[in-house]
Symmetry: C2
């Protein structure tokens, strides 16, 4: 007998029929003798409907009241799923965030979980109940309703699994696992049976939207065994997210991530002196623009340097404008930009013990005539920025070069 936390997203509970399907899946796990906690999101579309109502009333909706409003979405789902479980003859009980007591700080609309009181849940589980918990929401110490922000239901699932010391936290979604890369680009892309937390974090931050990055961090921190599965398939093991030390041998490369939303801004010929990076990026940060990659090279003459960074494409025009305005005070020769770029990344913990990965990557791209504009590396990742028109080609040739269609 195991204690399993299952999380179902909005699409998986989008209609009463789908809610019944979820109940059937839960019943199968109960029939195997497991204790089950189910965390659910709002029915798909519901959160947006509620936000639409709010925006029809207040141009910039009050965050506290926004949380009171959108928290109703998950509350509807927990009641309906509990009913569906009872209709199948199971004992079930719903919990709002406040009823579990998922204590958060009071940063409305983006609260962080401080603690979870798991006592009531455990008592009900031991009495044979399926506990159905509203994801995405909690309560602050003054009793105000809070929400964890978009995708926060994943975090609720992982946090509950940590608090209950669950054997596994299963995240059900509309994909059946984590792939070596996007199968829409590389049909040979292979579903990974396992991936390490560090790799998953890199994949998530690089644009693979299977799991919310905060929930992965949380799972890593509290050593929660996390599995991604499809809620639309009867069977399937999904992808297990493992701790590096548990794995016998890691593949060198686990996957290829990419991000189409990048744009780059280059500042040419700035004086090579202390404080220049801050002079360039300070005004960008003040405008609340997130910067991704940052590259600085010593210039040819030894007294000036070139500085390049990437931002989200939506903020490209704004960032470029800020730098052009600051060009004089920075003392730059030229400011230019390009929003027709893309970032492609190799991710794999095996890189730590294998040299030559970067050069293999560069060689593969060179053989196709793909010019590399920027390079950035971490311990388990190599990212390159290339012209966006080469995205699909680059991903395909790298997938083949590193033999990702076959399990290591």
């Amino acid at each position: 007998m195991a204690l399993i936390v299952q999380k179902y997203g909005g699409t998986s509970v989008g209609t009463t029929e789908r809610i019944k399907n979820v109940a059937q899946r839960v019943a199968r796990f109960k029939a195997q003798g497991h204790q089950v906690v189910v965390v659910v999101s709002a029915m798909s579309g519901e959160t947006n409907r509620l936000i639409g109502l709010a925006k029809g009333i207040q141009s910039n909706p009050d965050p506290r009241e926004m949380d009171v409003l959108v928290a109703t979405g998950e509350q509807v789902t927990i009641a309906l799923l509990s009913m569906a479980l009872m209709e199948m003859g199971l004992k079930a009980k719903s919990y709002t965030g406040a009823q579990v007591r998922i204590l958060t700080d009071n940063a409305f609309t983006k609260a962080r979980i401080l603690s979870i009181d798991e006592e009531n849940l455990r008592r009900d589980l031991n009495a044979g109940y399926v506990a159905v918990v509203a994801g995405f929401q909690g309560v602050d110490e003054r009793g105000n309703i809070t929400t964890l922000g978009r995708g926060g239901s994943d975090t609720t699932g992982v946090a509950l699994a940590a608090a209950l010391k669950a054997d596994e936290c299963q995240i059900y979604t509309d994909v059946d696992g984590v792939y070596t890369t996007d199968p829409r680009i590389v049909p040979e892309a292979r579903k990974l049976k396992t991936i390490t937390f560090e790799e998953m974090l890199e994949m998530a931050s690089l644009g693979s939207k299977v799991l919310q990055i905060r929930s992965v961090e949380f799972a890593g921190k509290y050593k929660v065994k996390l599995r991604v599965l499809s809620s639309f398939e009867e069977e399937g093991e999904g992808t297990l997210i493992t701790f590096e030390e548990d794995a016998m041998e890691q593949p060198i490369i686990s996957g290829i991530a990419f991000n189409r939303d990048e744009a780059k801004v280059t500042v040419l010929g700035v004086p090579d002196r202390p404080g220049i990076a801050y002079a360039i990026l300070g005004p960008v940060a003040e405008a609340n623009i997130d910067v991704d990659m940052i590259i600085q090279n010593v210039g040819a003459d030894g007294t000036t340097t070139d500085f390049t960074f990437t931002v989200h494409r939506n903020e490209f025009a704004k960032a470029l404008g800020i730098l052009k305005a600051a060009q004089g005070s920075i003392g730059a020769r030229e400011v230019k930009g390009d929003d027709k770029i893309t970032k492609v990344s190799l991710v794999g913990v095996g890189m730590r013990s294998h040299s030559g990965i970067a050069s293999s990557m560069f060689k593969t791209l060179a053989a196709e005539g793909i010019n590399i504009q920027m390079i950035s590396t971490s311990e388990i990742k190599i990212s390159v920025v290339i012209d966006e028109k080469y995205l699909e080609l680059a991903v395909r040739v790298l997938h083949k070069a590193f033999n990702l269609e076959h399990a290591a």
Copy 2:
């Protein structure tokens, strides 16, 4: 400066535009220096939508989960109205039933209020906030969400007014007050400036659906000054529901109520012996059929009697069937019924000190050739059952005979 509790029903908050209208009305009271607590229902249609979802999942929805589900309706409204008030520059804060702490018993879907913790509300009111409270809902001592049943938002308003010792509880609805009778039948019907609690209770129980009867009882018990007003009119004093001892002089008759939903069952020639009433009504009560009027007359021969009672028209066939089946064991000569009847009632506390009201009523009806089938009286009410085809005529001639179109 007064402390006012205002309650708005589902129609009054049915759209974002109407919610903004409610905010404007609240703002006018705030501008006059009053403290305001607003109690709201779910947006019209929302509760039925939620019940529909539940019935799509569980044939007989679990009461606890039903309350978790439908309580979201009011939670949506409190958030939206608070936003609308803030958008007008007011300070506002929403409260669910649990957040106020409206403590109820655990009779899910029809809970009763046990106590209200008014401290937080009072602190916020003193700090200049409009407190926006979800009607219809509470929480039991174990933290389960409960609801008070349909129309329970009126009860929430009155209970809050009692707990806060409010100067007035205003119930906003889609009519602008209590009338001497239904203006659709008697165009001269007059809006009452005041009506006593006892009269209001009789009017409500007789089918005038302005206020939920439980909230009127509650207001009477806790001496809450209650006023019924229209949420669709800018001005207007509505109808104030008074305590008899406060009124200088009461009119003899305040209004004429009627109920189209009655049907009667008559049991003829039953032995006139102790226990016969129970023998007849016991099986009816066991079938969960509510009985309204009961009349028993001594028969002509002194050994048998005739027994008549009325039930809701929906349950007429069932009640008649039960009595026909029991006819032999009761020892009745005949069981018959009629569902083409209506009940018309005169209501007025002045009856207590004025004799001759009943005979005036009977004379008026006789003059029109309207036969009276049953009569039932209380201290402040005379009800007659007549053929339903005479309903409009009877109400019109009685309204005129008792001079109700003119204020007393």
